[in-house]
């Protein structure tokens, strides 16, 4: 079986598994027990489907295997004994549904909202999404978030217990609640997108490279909420960032800053797709922070056509972003854009307004400070700022780049 075909089969298996998980968890309220019931079934699907082909009714296949395991477990009074009746009832219900509805109903939106529920510890939301919706294992998630695997396992376990015991409802928020609840989902998906080693939009440094997984979650959310402009904005944002991946390093693996990237290396299809998503989002007339971040990235992307960067537009967009969502990344980004649009001194003054404690260990602040101070001919201070930036680098290529500027 070809690599692409195999990937397609795995995707089908993961897709069916997560639809089932959402369905079963919504009814039993026990995410851990549902995961457990499906784990064996999922594993054997990954083994046999590449060989035998994806079944006509993939969820039915998984359910049969899961039910068998549940019955076994109840006989040996092993796992989640008290959850069994609820889970068995949910499985039985699913078996009825799988015969009647094709394709199997998709309740993953409820699952996504539960993962980002306010009662869920913020540090656990993205990991929970990655594990439940995409089936990633805890160790891989731990590495991506620079957390001890045992800790990640415990965090996930605690959070699933909380969902069950606190009775967090599996439902889609509505009315006044929806915007903030949706924002939490978007944030959690964006947290999975680390551009690897770069801090493009000033995202939290704990977010590290699970880019394709984040894109998958973003695409799924849009599929589930096709009328939400912020969901479009998020996907567009991630696509713009992703489109530049190949240009971030030169042939020898050296770091290339955005301003020096060869725009010919940017992915035209990704940019086109992002442009389209952004235009569609704008038609809804409900601006939001992810649309603004995407718009900022779309201005950068235009350099591929026009050959230059429209810093005035960027300064305006950043101003809007700061009013909507004044994160450290947005504040530093605004200072950088203003410095380019106006002059280094004005940008520097903006940078100075950011409280010192907030940026003590924030590398992009110091990199920008070094750059602006150099432009203002304040070489000694620039040197100090550059040293700070170097000391805070998590990306070796970036460190080498900054050290070369000395």
């Amino acid at each position: 079986m070809s690599g692409a075909a195999r990937l397609a089969v795995e995707r089908a298996a993961r897709d069916s598994r997560s639809r089932l998980l959402a369905f079963l968890a919504a009814r039993s309220h026990d995410v851990a027990a549902a995961e457990d019931a499906l784990s064996e079934a999922f594993r054997s699907a990954l083994e046999s489907w590449p060989r035998d082909g994806v079944p006509d009714k993939p969820e039915a296949w998984l359910l049969t295997a899961a039910r068998r395991r549940l019955i076994d477990a109840s006989r040996h009074a092993q796992v989640h004994a008290h959850a069994l009746p609820d889970l068995l009832a949910a499985v039985d219900e699913a078996q009825v549904v799988v015969q009647e509805q094709q394709p199997f109903p998709d309740e993953r939106l409820k699952l996504l909202f539960v993962c980002a529920h306010p009662a869920i510890d913020a540090g656990a939301r993205t990991p929970l999404m990655l594990q439940t919706v995409l089936g990633l294992d805890a160790a891989r998630i731990a590495s991506a978030f620079l957390v001890k695997p045992a800790t990640m396992g415990q965090r996930l376990s605690r959070v699933k217990t909380k969902i069950r015991d606190a009775g967090i409802a599996f439902e889609i928020p509505h009315g006044e609640d929806l915007p903030s609840r949706l924002d939490a989902v978007l944030e959690a998906i964006y947290a999975a997108y680390g551009s690897g080693w770069d801090d493009i939009t000033g995202a939290d440094p704990r977010r590290r490279g699970l880019a394709s997984e984040a894109l998958e979650l973003g695409a799924l959310l849009l599929q589930l909420l096709p009328n939400e402009p912020e969901a479009r904005g998020l996907l567009a944002l991630m696509l713009y960032c992703e489109s530049r991946r190949a240009a971030r390093r030169d042939g020898e693996g050296h770091y290339v800053p955005l301003s020096e990237q060869n725009a010919a290396c940017w992915s035209v299809p990704m940019i086109a797709q992002a442009d389209r998503l952004l235009r569609e989002a704008e038609r809804a007339g409900r601006i939001g922070r992810f649309q603004l971040e995407a718009a900022i990235q779309s201005v950068h992307a235009q350099r591929a056509c026009s050959g230059h960067t429209d810093w005035e537009s960027l300064a305006l967009l950043y101003e809007g972003l700061v009013r909507l969502a004044p994160t450290i990344g947005a504040l530093v980004g605004r200072a950088a854009a203003v410095a380019q649009a106006r002059d280094a001194h004005t940008g520097w003054q903006m940078l100075q307004q950011i409280p010192a404690e907030a940026v003590a260990s924030y590398q992009p602040y110091w990199a920008l400070a070094a750059h602006l101070l150099t432009q203002m001919q304040r070489g000694d201070e620039a040197l100090v700022a550059r040293e700070r930036a170097i000391g805070l680098c998590e990306d070796e290529a970036m460190r080498v780049f900054l050290m070369r500027q000395k």
Partner: protein, 121 residues
């Protein structure tokens, strides 16, 4: 809470310290001061040291009765302790964040461990 970041370096790392090519030597040494500064500026630096190469080590063993000194590296592992930092941070996640900023090279490994809280050391 105090944590130790233990830096395990490869034979190639140790060799680079004394590489005949000054550019390669410079590349090894130049990266450390900025990191130490960053730790100090953030107020988390407690102490730290680089260690001379393992082949310069002396090992002391005890046979229950006498101490026995031997020259040479303590263990024959591929990577050896090259240095360490002791930092004072709120939790393990913060310690790991700082470990992630330690200058890297292929094969270099970091171990992060909480320090004992006693009047011990």
């Amino acid at each position: 809470m105090n944590y130790s970041i233990l830096i395990y370096e490869t034979a190639a790392d140790f060799a680079t310290r004394n590489d005949p090519d000054p550019k390669k030597r410079e590349a090894y040494w130049a990266v450390w001061p900025a990191y130490v500064e960053a730790l100090k500026k953030a107020g988390v630096f407690v102490s730290g040291a680089g260690l001379q190469t393992p082949d310069t080590a002396s090992t002391l063993r005890f046979n229950g009765d006498k101490r026995h000194v031997q020259d040479g590296p303590y263990a024959e592992t591929k990577e050896q302790l090259g240095g360490f930092f002791i930092i004072d941070v709120p939790d393990l996640d913060a310690a790991l964040d700082w470990a992630a900023r330690v200058p890297r090279s292929p094969g270099r490994v970091f171990e992060v461990r909480p320090n004992l809280v006693l009047g011990n050391a």
